[in-house]
Symmetry: C2
Subunit: 108 residues, 2 copies
């Protein structure tokens, strides 16, 4: 992964995390990830919407049509209880793997 690309396998975790405080619509999820990461990460729409579809099917989020702050018809995504559990689990997995990576990188 270069420039603004994502690290494969982490997009789901980031989306769930952004949804944790409350419902957010698709487009805004991408914007928040971009802003919160200080422009380091950029989620393409072609990655975002398929990811949201997967999460819907797994039951980690629910979607609801509504109106955005800018007066547009949007789909708000909301974490389910299962989604909350999934987020915790992904965080644990990520932390563990990251620790492994950092061990190798520092001590090799």
């Amino acid at each position: 992964m270069a420039k603004n690309e994502m690290l494969p396998g982490t997009l789901g975790m980031l989306i769930l995390r952004v949804l944790q405080p409350g419902p957010v619509h698709g487009y805004a999820i991408a914007q928040r990830i971009h802003a919160l990461s200080k422009e380091l990460l950029q989620v393409e729409e072609g990655s975002l919407y398929p990811a949201l579809q997967r999460m819907l099917m797994k039951g980690w989020v629910r979607a609801e049509w509504g109106i955005s702050e800018t007066n547009r018809k949007v789909r708000f995504y909301k974490l389910t209880a299962a989604g909350r559990r999934q987020l915790q689990s992904e965080i644990e997995d990520f932390d563990r793997v990251l620790q492994g990576i950092q061990s190798v990188m520092s001590k090799a």
Copy 2:
């Protein structure tokens, strides 16, 4: 990624890092990653050898047949100058992306 799985996109970096101090043969690369990560990471052979092939084709490593410590015919892999540059570049990319991820995860 769960249990002992790898984080996609980081295997190349880990292999290059293990090869940095000097030539290592394939099987031993996997063992070292496993050991150095305190058993947190497990590289499957079906991931390892294709990754080494890719790196050979990109010119990041060179391979040479030899005899292992256990008296077996093995292929030692050695970093090239390009491989060394690639390693630095992947480390920078990874650090940048990781910082982005951690920003999102902490501040969302």
